[in-house]
């Protein structure tokens, strides 16, 4: 199926590319999303709504910028029929502004996606000391990201586009 997006034009999607969030994201409507990669080396991905062409959130594996980041027990996983033992991709929403130095990452509301089912949920990580707007470059420099990989488990579900329009 094809899906229009403001940033990437027409996305050509196979079934495995369609990610289903039965409960949506917190405060944002829409159950169907795709994870878009704009280049081989980009560790920042876009979670693109398949229901609103304009709506896309930059996301990144939280461990890339916060190496000690851990998610504890996650009751939300049961809501997507997933189990803690199976490969679950963890992503965090990045607030990207024009000034790279001001980017922040939400470590309190990680997005979890089952590689097996393609179902996702936004969980709440109640560990102490986590920030909704953690500075992105507290532990790493932008140049450090070149050697990181964008996803751990969801490679086959990534929608690859050459670049943003």
């Amino acid at each position: 199926m094809n899906c229009e997006s403001t940033r990437f034009g027409t996305l050509e999607l196979d079934d495995e590319h369609v990610l289903h969030f039965p409960h949506g994201l917190v405060g944002i409507p829409g159950q169907f999303w795709a994870l878009v990669s704009t280049g081989e080396d980009s560790v920042i991905l876009w979670l693109q709504s398949l229901e609103d062409a304009d709506l896309a959130l930059p996301v990144c594996r939280p461990q890339i910028v916060a190496p000690d980041y851990k998610i504890g027990t996650v009751p939300e996983l049961q809501g997507i029929d997933a189990d803690v033992g199976e490969p679950i991709e963890q992503l965090a929403v990045v607030t990207a502004t024009d000034s790279l130095a001001d980017w922040t990452i939400n470590l309190v509301g990680p997005i979890l996606i089952s590689a097996r089912t393609g179902k996702g949920v936004q969980a709440i990580n109640e560990r102490d000391g986590l920030s909704l707007r953690a500075p992105m470059w507290q532990h790493v420099e932008p140049s450090d990201l070149a050697s990181a990989s964008a996803v751990e488990y969801l490679d086959l579900r990534l929608v690859r586009v050459d670049e943003e329009r």
Partner: protein, 69 residues
């Protein structure tokens, strides 16, 4: 909205599997204990509102294209 008065140590049952017990009251702070299956997600309301706010901000501020890092 259903409004019920409860004393300390009294409970409310919601459906078959969820109970809410009033553990104590001190001034304007009420401590409640919630027993629910693991599949039921329980968080403080303001945490949801904060995450909703952060999501909306990230969506509103997302640029057309990201800089090359």
């Amino acid at each position: 909205m259903l409004v019920i008065s409860r004393k300390v140590d009294e409970q409310v049952r919601i459906g078959d599997e969820i109970t809410v017990r009033i553990l104590g009251v001190q001034g304007n702070v009420v401590r409640i204990g919630i027993d629910a299956p693991k599949s039921v997600v329980v968080h403080r309301e303001e945490v949801f509102e904060q995450i909703a706010g952060a999501n909306k901000q990230a969506a509103a501020q997302a640029p057309r294209a990201l800089p090359k890092l």
